[in-house]
């Protein structure tokens, strides 16, 4: 891959994701119409409540962008997790379980090792989240490397095991007895990550403190850069991708594919685990059971839409974050359309991204219809997933 994406290549990379999103919105629009609302009104509401800089009274507001970025943060992590595993030819459907054990681990450090200084405690909690998520990811990696057991099935199964396990621990050992809610006690205040309001105040930016966007968002952008650097600029990343692109050739070149599989799943799990940092250290300051509305599964959509490229993942997560933010307003301000529209849109986007070949055939047909041009059909690219 070249130093930077050339204009032509970038257009190619963006065409099919954009077509997929447009097709999904078109179908979503028809559904909204059938339900009996005006799709344009609904989509305008989605757009303005996600990205608008002015509220209904015409006053400047950070709320929309603030919450959109807050909702995008966990999706950047799970999107990166899925994308990185995919670069090694693996499909990690287990980000959901990985982020649950990670959030619990972060909370455990936060409310147990309270004697440590603030910074140390915070760093330890973050490492605990990455370690827990990483181990939970490495397990199906090892099962695949050692026994050839399919990672898709094992990661699905481990999601249920993870949620059962943390539910058991919370219920029996870490719940405040008088609390009717399934959650642990609060972490030490000094372990918490600062909200963006605190970080932006010295710059003279008056960002409202009620918006839960926090330091984890910056970590997410940093993670995206580091994943890109790792995959594209280091020999470890090259070996990982080589193992995914052509396992036989990689093995011949002296790369241990088995090691790469375990490594990829471990890093993937650690990335998913950072969702727990956003949730526990940046938002709720405790482990709250059932906190994830399916971040792990949305991560699959984000990775696909971002074409498994770290920067694409950030853009796709921004879109999904915006949908989640806007969905709340659709729920409130329309009579018949609920925020579930967003879930439906996201699912249709994945379907359309997955059937890219459908659009490719369409584009080829279009090109052939244009006079004086004959274009060979573009080749499908990207690493193929290994099947056991």
């Amino acid at each position: 891959m070249g130093k930077l994406l050339t204009g032509r290549r970038l257009t190619g990379e963006l065409t099919y994701p954009l077509l997929a999103v447009m097709a999904a919105f078109l179908i979503g629009g028809v559904v909204v119409l059938l339900i009996g609302e005006n799709p344009l009104t609904v989509y305008w509401l989605l757009l303005t409540s996600a990205f608008g800089l002015y509220d209904a009274l015409g006053n400047f507001t950070w709320d929309n962008w603030g919450y959109t970025l807050f909702y995008a943060t966990p999706l950047i992590f799970t999107g990166l997790a899925v994308a990185l595993a995919f670069q090694c030819g693996l499909l990690n459907i287990g980000a959901e379980g990985q982020l649950y054990v990670a959030a619990f681990a972060a909370a455990w450090v936060g409310f147990t090792l309270t004697g440590l200084p603030g910074v140390v405690l915070t760093v330890l909690a973050i490492l605990a989240a990455m370690l827990a998520g990483g181990l939970w990811g490495a397990l199906p990696g090892w099962l695949k490397a050692r026994f050839g057991a399919h990672e898709v099935i094992n990661t699905i199964m481990l999601n249920f095991v993870a949620i059962g396990l943390v539910s058991y621990l919370t219920q029996n050992y870490f719940k405040v007895p008088s609390d009717p809610i399934m959650q642990t006690g609060l972490i030490a205040e000094k372990a918490a990550l600062p909200r963006l309001a605190v970080l932006l105040a010295p710059l003279g930016i008056d960002f409202p403190g009620r918006i839960p966007l926090n330091f984890t968002f910056i970590l997410a952008l940093l993670a995206a850069f580091l994943v890109w650097f790792f995959l594209r600029r280091t020999s470890w990343g090259y070996e990982l991708r080589a193992a995914g692109a052509n396992p036989a050739a990689a093995e011949y070149a002296g790369i241990s594919v088995r090691r790469q599989i375990i490594l990829a799943m471990a890093i993937s799990g650690a990335l998913a685990g950072l969702v727990g940092v956003n949730e526990v250290l940046g938002y709720r300051y405790r482990y709250y059971h059932d906190f994830s509305p399916g971040y792990g599964f949305a991560g699959i959509a984000v990775a696909l839409l971002g074409r498994n490229h770290p920067f694409g993942v950030v853009l796709a997560a921004l879109l999904f974050g915006a949908l989640n933010r806007g969905g709340l307003f659709v729920d409130i301000f329309t009579d018949r359309v609920s925020k579930d529209l967003v879930q439906v849109l996201q699912a249709i986007i994945i379907l359309f991204v997955a059937i890219e070949i459908f659009f490719r055939r369409g584009v080829v047909t279009l090109r052939q219809l244009l006079p004086g041009r004959t274009t060979a059909p573009p080749e499908l690219e990207g690493p193929g997933r290994t099947t056991s």
């Binding site: 099935i153 095991v161 539910s167 439906v344 059937i355 459908f358």
Partner: protein, 312 residues
């Protein structure tokens, strides 16, 4: 301890095992058709949700559970059609398509139920005579507990009949042979004149219909309404049973009965014995992982599973 053990393990446990295993059997059989034809179906959960929602909705609108049941089957076939079109015609990654379908049917029922009934959480409560009736096939006068085993929803018996039928179809019919052929070696099947895509479409449509029946059993059999995410992972347990049962009908049936038994025991043990509920619920998932790794007895999938067939 002995007394509580006796409370848990008695004849009515068999009846509740059958009830709890039924949706698993139907969905797992659905998975079996798709996967034996070479198409991974992790969309069982979404197909069940589609069936459960459609059954409850159509029953609520018409007052007739049989109309609901028929509509559920059609809805399942429609979802199957989406999965087949995506994976067979447009060669989408089968796991990704399945994941998308699962997400889709977390959202669609809520969206439609909100628009139709003004509640995104549940469809209207059905009356006693609107849900599927019980069917008594054996009624010994002297033992009411024994009678309870043979007084079930029609879908419970149907599930067992379908296991036998599936075994027969796969082993003895031309259609079954073709399903196995395209699942094991599509190139050879193609050479022999079998249209691989057509067989896979048929198998995935049957898959959707059966999984939707399993879902319908939950909403208009066991319960009397659809609630958000009411399958609660049963589609994945069915998938686990399919793997645990080595992709064959009898093995799958036994796995479903075992997982149904585990669920029945876990419901009864709530608050009585010291084994935490969460651990009993993990049994199907852990066993599947153990079997996949070959610790107990190796379970190998159909050879062409997950591979789109491209005609030369």
């Amino acid at each position: 301890m002995n007394e509580s053990t006796a409370d848990i393990f008695n004849l009515t446990l068999i009846a509740s095992t059958l009830r709890l295993a039924t949706p698993l059997i139907l969905a797992a059989l659905g998975g079996l058709y798709a996967e034996r034809s070479g198409v991974i179906n992790i969309a069982l959960e979404g197909m069940m949700l589609a069936g459960a929602f459609t059954a409850a909705t159509m029953t609520a609108l018409t007052g007739n559970p049989w109309v609901g049941l028929l509509a559920a089957i059609l809805s399942g076939m429609l979802v199957g059609l989406i999965h087949a079109a995506a994976t067979v015609t447009w060669r989408a990654d089968q796991v990704v398509s399945g994941t998308a379908i699962n997400l889709l049917f977390l959202g669609v029922p809520a969206l439609l139920s909100g628009a139709l009934f003004g509640s995104t959480g549940a469809t209207p409560q059905l009356t006693r005579d609107q849900v599927l009736p019980d069917l008594t096939i054996f009624n010994p006068a002297n033992s009411p507990t024994l009678a309870s085993i043979f007084n079930q929803k029609p879908l419970v018996y149907l599930a067992f009949i379908l296991v036998a039928l599936t075994g027969y179809v796969l082993a003895r019919t031309r259609f079954g042979l073709r399903i196995r052929a395209v699942g094991e070696n599509p190139e050879a099947a193609d050479t022999a004149g079998i249209v691989v895509g057509r067989i896979r479409y048929a198998a995935v449509l049957i898959s959707g219909a059966l999984a939707a029946l399993g879902g319908a059993y939950l909403s208009i059999g066991q319960n009397s309404l659809f609630t958000r995410n009411m399958t609660a992972g049963r589609g994945f347990i069915a998938l686990a049973a399919l793997i645990f049962g080595k992709w064959n009908p009898t093995g799958t049936l036994l796995a479903c009965l075992f997982f149904g038994l585990a669920e029945a025991v876990s419901i009864r043990m709530q608050g009585t014995v010291s084994i935490p509920n969460q651990f009993i619920q993990m049994i199907p998932y852990l066993l599947t992982m153990v079997v996949l790794a070959g610790f107990i007895r190796r379970s190998a999938p159909p050879r062409a599973l997950g591979v789109a067939y491209i005609k030369e």
